[in-house]
Amino acid sequence: MYFKLAWRNIWRNKRRSLITIASILFAVFFAVMMRSIQLGLYSQMIDNVVGFYTGYVQIHSLGYWDEKTLDNSFEYDEGLIDDISKIDRITGVIPRLEGFALSSFGESTKGAMVVGVDPEKEKVMINFHEKIVDGAVFEPTDRSVLMGQGLADYYGLKAFDTLVLLGQGYHGVSAAGKYPVSGIVKFSSPMLNDNLIFLPLKEAQWFYGTDNRITSIVISTDDGNRASTLKASLAEKIDDNIYELMSWEEMMPELVQIIQADSGGGLIMLFILYMVITFGIFGTVLMMTAERTYEFGILLSIGMRRWKISIVLLIETLMMATIGVICGGILAMPLVFYFHNNPIELTGGAAEALLEFGFEAVIPPSTDPSIIITHALIILVITTLITIYPFFIISRLQAASAMRH
């Protein structure tokens, strides 16, 4: 009966109810679209760098991150790697030896990051086999390089060309080598694509003269949202006098900052939008309450308890909010899914800004259901809070005076 009453009350003033519903619909639609795009962009930024290169957590020799030199490398320890691999939800424990060198091809020279990798273990992280665009992935025992497509384009070189590397190795020894390019790999992140050269781990150790040492162990997980719990379970296995453990947020504070600043800007916009919507709904509820004072007087007179009158009003506003939320969701979701599968390719200023930070200018909106759930809940909470006003009016209503109007 209360639902019937509430439902019919909504349609007493069709125009006003429809405007209210439409404003809620718009708010939800806008909020979901905007957050899907933002969060999609962030998770893509994170995935491209963290998921395909950095990993959610890394282990280094203590002090390496502050002073990234080969002198801060550590002995490759099979036992440690096996031990870590046993931790729940870890999908890969990947050794790397990272250093810098000058690369040169023909007349050109460019500084690059020269990284020793194990192509097999990297299958869960960099996954060269999927990124290869020319030539082939090297075998662990090969003496050749893989390079980022951006860098290859810079030199204008192709697979089977020969690249010269020149740098400084462990404890200041000089490192030099001439390597055939076995393949070219394409990374989404321009930051990686333009700067990376890979050697098989063994060959890199030889090149840098580090023997059996590595600079980092990259940990991959299938649950990026729980990087901090992962870090805690790793901490139990690792001697913190020798090693440092770093999450991707610690390794890439700029990325975290960019995301926070951008997300914060979006949230401020949404906050303003929600304020506007709140006043809109409040106006409707205000008028609804004022118009119906006489009727509330009748209901109270004939024996309807105050809270029951209030409940009918609450159901009314919640019904309008729910209709708005559902319609907003129904409009937004297909768009979100469409653009998720056919990502928006940015052009112009926005694209340049992203590229400058080393990100792709393509945005696949996030389809995370928590986005729509969050904004649906926000609307429902706002609506519920607004009905405090009529609750208050009804709680103080005097039957006799209500009916003098």
């Binding site: 009966m1 019937k4 009453l5 019919r8 009350n9 007493r12 006489y294 009727e295 009748i298 209901l299 109270l300 007179s301 004939i302 024996g303 309807m304 308890r305 105050r306 029951k308 005097q398 039957a399 006799a400 005076s401 009916m403």
Partner: protein
Amino acid sequence: MSIIKTQDLTKIYVDHTVEVHALNGVTLDVAEREFTAVVGPSGSGKTTFLNIVGGLDNPSSGTVSIGDTDITDLKDNELIDFRLNNIGFVFQAYNLIPVLTAKENVEFIMLMQKKSKKERDSRVEELLVAVGLGDQMNKKPREMSGGQQQRVAVARALASKPKFVLADEPTANLDSKTAINLLEIMANLNKEEGITFIFSTHDQKVIDRARRIVTLEDGKIVSDVEQNV
């Protein structure tokens, strides 16, 4: 047996610092099965009196007893429930919930009383037939004339099986033919079902049909007579 007893009721409204003495010591007994009109010039205190008897307003002093209950002592929720179960109300106009049909308006009271569906259905039908609206049960208030709406209000007032019905100028918005018709329905229910009615009115034709006439002037009872109808 008396079902309503008021003792020395006074009501003082403070309107912009001016005190209005709407009731000045009203003592009245109403017995079961009465059919009583409260009459008097405009501003004499009829509405104020009926509101206080119905527990819709508090007296400034004095008491109202209904059966064994002193309703001026009841807490807010107790009073609301008391009204639901013991008093039927008919107001001057716009009595009905506009979004509910005639049937639903009458049924609404019984729903609040948590009566079974079977009991509701039979009583709603019986009441609407009794007020001559057996064929208008599914109409919304705005699809009915003023007289029909008032008859639905009378049916609703009886739905809870109240001890008595209070009607403040139930005919004020009706033309005189419709007014008489409504009064006749009320008089029949009074005679045949033994329902106690107290109503206020200005209308001489309506006054003529009352069996007891209580006249108020300046918040005091100035005459209290019985007449044969």
